[in-house]
Symmetry: D3
Subunit: 285 residues, 6 copies
């Protein structure tokens, strides 16, 4: 069984605190304070309202923990990465009803978003099942949410491209232009950062050939059709170079692209266009 | 001409700084530093690659301003809320090429997300055009992004529901249960916060009747079909109560629901499930 | 029994940490470190030195908790909102003497200030007892202290006006000028923010008439004498409009103003000019 | 002419930003945005509505600068420490009317509070004029405001006691008890911090004698009546020890206490109980 | 036995959190996550690899506590200020192996740096043993580390000069020039801050004479050779003025300088040039 | 000419603000405020007092810019990485004398520390000149200073190892134990993070052989003597594997180690034990 690299607990708590603080904005939950007695306690269940892959249960739990403190008790009945069915209970939390209601939206906003990413990722993973191709994300994430969104991709069975600009080099067309060619750009990166992994974006088969000859470990095939991709993979393989398809990919063509033998499909939509997974909170007093 | 209430400039700068800091993570853009000479300058254009409604140009400009400082110059050639066409140039920025490339992804991530929300909102607004119904968002936003996401809804022609738990009361089913009925809940809110606007969620026509009799200014009709919604609107109108449809709304049924005479359609999907609008950055040296 | 809407515990802890950090300024309590042995423990009692209404016990407790951690134990023997007598013990804390002494001033500064506000508020509340008028605060608070100061007003039996500029509209003279009249201003607010509560400041009886005709729910009667206030209340009542007296109010005239039938008295002095309530800390080893 | 030690400009800007952020709470000034056109500009004057001593003009200017940025222009027509008359214009600011109105309350809250402190201080300073006694503040300040409040005391002609626990030692009764006597406490402080100024609180003439014999530079005479204070001063002078009266001081007795020859009067009320100075903002379009 | 004034626990935790956050930079420990199973636990020992004086054990413990939370258990087997031998175990921590490895470098970086300062300080203290001279640090510390570095000096047997610019006055040559002479500068400081300790830097014997006559409590003898220092001490003693040698001091001359009778040796190198003490972490599973 | 990858300007400003804030600790420079008139301006020169390599001029300039704002003007007359001689002027700043003196220590503390690192690095670089070996730093840096300290290493002609735990994998002995051998550990990292650069620490020649056979790109030779290092390099070269010597390296043996043909020497002392470079500030009024 594959285990997903976890999200740092400190990051879960940071997001939980941020969500609650933004929702309260230095004020109070006026509805709840007015209508719910201070002493009332209850149990809330987070329930899937659609089938999907769940991600972010620890983040949701952190929201409740942040708000309820030692007065609350959270139990998870699913694990991030699980395929869940509509109606399934994912998380149960007991504590003061006031705090449960105040925390509800913050917890759900994070959980539905991250589960939406995991669910979309899983659809792509399913689409290329058996081809050996790996689904990868991009840096097309929202400010403050990158670590969590990339974690959700892992929960869906995808893999992560670099976390940020410092981690790895990705030579794109503008870098090639500035450096005076693919070879020059690759050499410049190697000279400046010999131990930094370097991927090279290629727009043509000639560029693939040039990058592969120069020893590229991985090339990004940008906006190539299936036939060109097939040719590019052939060139790359002759030099032991891995390949990643990127640009204009849709679920409809995913399997065809994966069938060309590319190692990765880079899918920005995983993080920038995943609809939320429908989840709700049921409260029992 | 309607003018959209602007996003606070401080918020645009906060998001810009956050996005850049997360992408750099205390390090540097290794690719750009290695391949692009320090003295090189260029001009980058942000171009629409699909039709849509743009939102977030000031935020994108703030990203470039944050990174380029006085060495850069930004011009916008569209305005937030404009319906733009594929190929249209939205923003031009001139400055050191290194900084342009480092800032590119942060600027685009924000702009494509907010424009995606504006574009989806505009589709809902178009769908109900002529009915008098107003499209509204919810609190289903992402942590740290609420003000910007709700601004994007305004750019798309929608209206904002409350910004957070402190601003207005929204009595939901659990509040009704805790308070001992709709009337009791409404009176509790009015007693505690006489000047706070109070909306009441109703699941049945009886509840609509009860809330309206008690003087509700606005009721949220939760998960009612078109026929029931029509009946609910009739009841509400007899008491001068406004109505907001919520729950299970889709673009396909939007016009039918709007046709019932409801004042608002509450659409969580505007912020939690809007796909990004396709935009790119072209660099000219 | 009326219960006061509590202060958010997170806010109490924020203020506690802020006060301690400012007093220590990155250094240490040189007197205490030099003179008090590390192992010494003691019990400190916070005692009222004057009659008054107490507010901020949880904030004071948070100061001790912040500094003493698990080595300390705090018990409160009064509750916020209680009328206390000189000599009464309000809070007892046991723990390392060093930390008790270091925390003393931070705890007392907050508690005496908030209790001062509650005590002054209670004097105003007593002054209008039986008239039906409610004493309200304003936004005339100190930076960083608004939530706590408005909580203290509630402890004194007062009510809160809006927490900030985002929560409610209050159309003042300059807004009226800019919008082109009271009616225009009211319509502009209603168009932009239909669900936001809107109060209208009126300087003359004509303005009261205009605002009430336009459907104002609440008008602020600015700097009117008792006779004019009486007339304004009469006009407002004919339209079902509530009234709030404001400007130049003193305790001496409070009852006369309340006797005009106004719903609220807006008293800036509650927060901007309340003297501290005299409280001290007695230490027993 | 004596010049007042200024407030650090960074502190003025911190307070300005804090006040605005709290008032907006991540939202917007709904009234102003709805009623005031974006293009309108105006001039606002801050005007004294009562006689007093002004403090905080730079802080108020920082509020307008923070909100208006380069679109605004601020001129001050008084200086901190000036005795001003009702009707006198203190500060003029020109810029977008929207921003002027949004910033008004934040600027006034700070300026009226600090001027209130300066005004009360000046009354104490006047009361002891000619006696040679100096009016001093205490650490009885509000969290986050100590530097500004102590600056206001200086504007009123007072002097500052220590800024915080790290700066100077003040041996109080509990330190004496823990150390085993005044002499032991003084020696402990001198051993641990030979260069830290050390003041000693004395409750009796015997304690004054003991502290003075041990070489105390300054003793705090706590809660002594005028006759006892006179005796204490005599003892202290024989050893070249300075004296500071503290506890139960009121304006009514200030001159009598100062007449005993004490060097300082420690007045907590300067910062914990000063009523705000009445100031207003007049807007001209 | 002398006890060292402790470092504030909050400062230890701040440094611990800062070190970990910088090392992880919003990402994860990729090596450890990939190679170490989640369930594995172990015991790590921090061991001295050279003789020296230890400082920072609580800071190192805070690093482990921050990362391991309640899953870890830390025991210290030495105390700050102890002279330790190579091979000696200083701290033992048990918990999840993953977290132990992730925290290792952050803990060691702080502990080796602070112990390096303590060890160098102890060498200076040893060098002047028996002369009565005290070794003192300066403000030549690194940003964010001053409190901890000065604590390490105390652990090594040294004493602290002022913590920052607010605590004490130190009149240097440029202040003398600006004020118009040593006497004028001293009087200016005394007038503005009568209770602030004031030291005066002197470059010549005439300046020592002038400062001492004016009542200086302590003079800093800047860059004087041993003979001149001896003469300066003689002059100062006639006026009861203490002396501190500063400038160009090395361990080789420390004893000779101390032999002149100066009260303090000010040694910037304690904090700006101390090599790290060699310490390592041994892990047992 | 090689250009050093610059330090991010935002990081320079962060450090500058941090240093000033810590030195002032919310208070003021009492000496300077008392002795230096407000209107006095002057020119300060930062001068080398010893030969060395300079690093941190932009950071020092940021300190002056932070404190003087638009009232100051900074000129640098050397560049980071320059070999400078005692007596050489490096930076000139003109502005209000008060602010120059308040900023002096913060600027010098940063500049002397970073220049100390650059100078020590240059000594190592000189020691191995002509051998082809590259001097590299480690993660043995101080909290909050890593980016700046690693920048200083670059200024001295050295190269940077990874910035933090997220950037690259470095399999050490404990990872090998946990994973069940070098091969298992390498495969685990490659499976989890295929694009992350992975270095492997080897303690024996057998481990070098195993790592190289498994395709290691770079091995860290830990604590090997020169003869063993020579043998390890030979083994590694047969597999095209690069080598980095680490552990117990001193300047005395640097050239001998470099002569073995290793690609890198990892030198923790560059950052954890570099003495400050002697620099001073001369003020002219």
């Amino acid at each position: 069984m594959t285990t997903v690299t976890p999200l740092d607990p400190a990051e879960a708590h940071r997001l939980a605190a941020l969500a609650l603080a933004e929702d309260l904005a230095g004020g109070t939950d006026v509805t709840t304070l007015a209508t719910v007695p201070a002493g009332l306690t209850g149990t809330a269940e987070v329930v899937a309202r659609a089938d999907g892959v769940v991600a972010g249960l620890d983040v949701a739990a952190a929201v409740f923990a942040e708000r309820l403190g030692s007065a609350g008790h959270v139990t998870t009945t699913a694990r991030d990465g699980d395929r869940v069915r509509a109606g399934q209970v994912l998380l149960t939390v007991t504590g003061p009803t006031r705090e449960l209601l105040t925390a509800e939206r913050s917890a759900l906003n994070l959980l539905t978003h991250l589960s939406g990413i995991a669910t979309l990722t899983a659809r792509w993973v399913d689409a290329v099942a058996g081809t050996g191709a790996v689904i990868r994300d991009t840096r097309k994430t929202l400010p403050g949410l990158r670590a969590a969104e990339k974690y959700a991709v892992r929960c869906g069975g995808g893999s992560n491209h670099r976390m940020g600009l410092r981690d790895q080099a990705l030579i794109k067309d503008n870098h090639v232009l500035a450096a005076g060619g693919i070879t020059a750009a690759m050499r410049a990166v190697r000279a400046a950062y010999p131990d930094v992994f370097c991927e090279v974006e290629c727009d043509t088969l000639d560029q693939v050939e040039e990058a592969a000859r120069e020893g590229a470990v991985l090339v990004l095939l940008d906006n190539m059709d299936v036939a060109t991709t097939t040719a590019a993979v052939a060139i790359a393989r002759r030099h032991g170079t891995r390949t990643e398809a990127s640009g204009g990919l849709t679920l409809a063509v995913a399997r065809a692209v994966a069938g060309t033998g590319v190692d990765y499909l880079a899918v920005g939509a995983l993080t920038h266009s995943a609809p939320a997974l429908d989840l709700g909170l049921d409260l029992h007093s």
